[in-house]
Amino acid sequence: MGRLGAALATAIAIGFGVLTLWGLIGGTGSIQGITNLLLQLTVISVAVTILLGILNLFSVHLRRITQRQRGWVYSIALIGSAAVVIVLWVLGQQSTNAMLLDTVELVNRRWRAGGVRAGTARTAHTTEIRQWLLAVPVSAGARGILLGIALATVVTGVRVLIGQDRSYRE
């Protein structure tokens, strides 16, 4: 029964994988409808999985803090920063990046008592530095990670289609 269950799980995975691939490549009519339904179910499942992952993350780090395990200070930083972002979202702040940059510029202006002109020059420099950082190193790193994820997704998908992925049968 164990082998039959494993074979059945593999057959179901391959069948739905081929069906979705067919619908995405050029299926029409009912195939397209089934593909859309499967994709919507997948999106909902992924969203719930992400939520479970976040709750698990909080649980692990809270346990690390209460039991004073190795690196518990970093756990406080993680939970604190997550809480700040959630509170800001609840309060209606649309962009935490812009809010953080405004705070840095405000502190910079207040600290250097050089008048409005010096404050404006440093504000422009801060914006230029931020734009360069976002355009070059951050963008390059993000693109590299996204390319890696895309390739790994293709490889994993092919493994599922040929029945070599065992995560659902063991």
Partner: protein
């Protein structure tokens, strides 16, 4: 829980970290091969894009005009 953070594609290769099956190792090798193929494609596309400006600059440098 992993000691180091798993970023991007490492999430898909977590099975290869934990186990040692042939299919997991094949996935890692395939991913590396595809990544090198992509790098080669990017380099060829970049070389094709800068071919004309570089050629003109070299011509000006060597021809003096």
């Amino acid at each position: 829980m992993a000691d180091q953070p798993l970023i991007g594609e490492e999430l898909f290769l977590a099975g290869a970290y934990l186990g040692d099956s042939a299919s997991q190792r094949a996935s890692v090798v395939t991913l590396d091969f595809l990544r090198w193929l992509l790098i080669l494609g990017l380099l060829i596309a970049t070389a094709n894009t800068i071919r004309e400006p570089v050629g003109e600059a070299l011509a000006r440098l060597l021809g003096g005009g």
